[in-house]
Symmetry: C2
Subunit: 204 residues, 2 copies
């Protein structure tokens, strides 16, 4: 098949991400979020919050990473960040198989390039991947605060479990990590998040 045909097959298959529902519940519109609009929101956050990335971070690369980061869910579906270890291991294997298939729809040179970008996001070593992953963790927290609990309530998550996730935000952006920590402390004070043992500052 010609290059354009392969590229359009990839674009069409990727479009199915609009039908993958996440755990996150939105305030407005009041419904569950899908992974395509989530990916868009993260790309927008990369543009708006670029100043919170470490100096020298390539924001164009962050944006591209966020646009493709959830494509594997077309095959593998979405899993809560609060799922247990066994479920996460199964999900990881399914996502790697999905990545080979979906990026493999592209001409080989582009498949190689985008699979590499996806792996970079997953491995979370480069400043770009760390910042992208920080935004991916921050966005559902913002939505949970907005709806007054969201997945924190439906999954019976405690503040200490959320604070574990904040470590990943801090690793990508010091200022966003600090903001997330303060937001969680406020959520506990507001009664929309249950305090956990390590929510006590002295225990951290």
């Amino acid at each position: 098949m010609d290059r354009l045909g392969s590229q359009l097959d990839f674009v069409q298959e990727a479009g199915r991400l609009k039908g993958v529902l996440r755990q996150t519940v939105l305030a407005r519109p009041a419904r569950r979020e899908n992974s395509a609009e989530h990916s868009w929101h993260l790309a927008l956050m990369a543009l708006a919050l670029a100043g919170h990335a470490p100096a020298g971070t390539d924001i164009g690369r962050v944006t591209a990473m966020l646009v493709i980061h959830d494509l594997v869910e077309v095959d593998a579906g979405d899993l809560s960040v609060y799922a247990d270890g066994a479920a996460r291991a199964r999900q990881e294997a399914a996502e790697h198989t999905a990545a080979e298939r979906i990026f493999g729809l592209l001409p080989p040179d582009q498949a190689h390039e985008l699979l590499g970008l996806w792996l970079e996001f997953e491995e979370r070593v480069s400043p770009e991947a760390k910042f992208a992953r920080a935004l991916d963790r921050l966005q559902p927290m913002l939505e949970n605060v907005r709806v007054g609990g969201g997945t924190w309530t439906s999954w019976a998550v405690t503040a200490d479990e959320v604070l574990e996730k904040v470590a990943l935000i801090e690793d990508g952006s010091a200022s966003l990590g600090l903001f997330a920590r303060q937001m969680i402390e406020q959520a506990v004070r507001d009664g929309i998040l249950t305090p956990g043992a390590s929510a006590d500052p002295a225990a951290r």
Copy 2:
């Protein structure tokens, strides 16, 4: 307000784009498309179809433009590309007012930068804006073919009206313009698009 507070206000307000429904009907999931997931799909197309942009086109800038191009619809809503001239003039005025308000939520330097990027998209002079606008025109055509008519049927559009829109795709990308023209000729042969006067090659 501090910069982060302003940036997060903008991010939150922008999220309402998930609730703006477009005319485009998707095949899978079978429902109308919203403007947030549409923007994501276009950003993905920019990455996958980058090779069809004129040499030297800054794809990072195209992607950023596509991520923000529909934000004005949070206030102004979506309008069909086949709406009449008076409706389009009203829409244009509403979109400019919306752009001032929505980008104005950001700190002034960022508001200036993103408003400029949106105006660049609207003015369609730079190669980046021309390529971004070409993708914005191509994507609904791809969806219409996929669902066997879509807005072409519901708006009773003829091939000559669609071919007028193809001129804008050709202006952004010669190869995508050629592809779109062939796709429309095929759609007429397949009976999912009504032939119009200028669908006769001799009349173009």
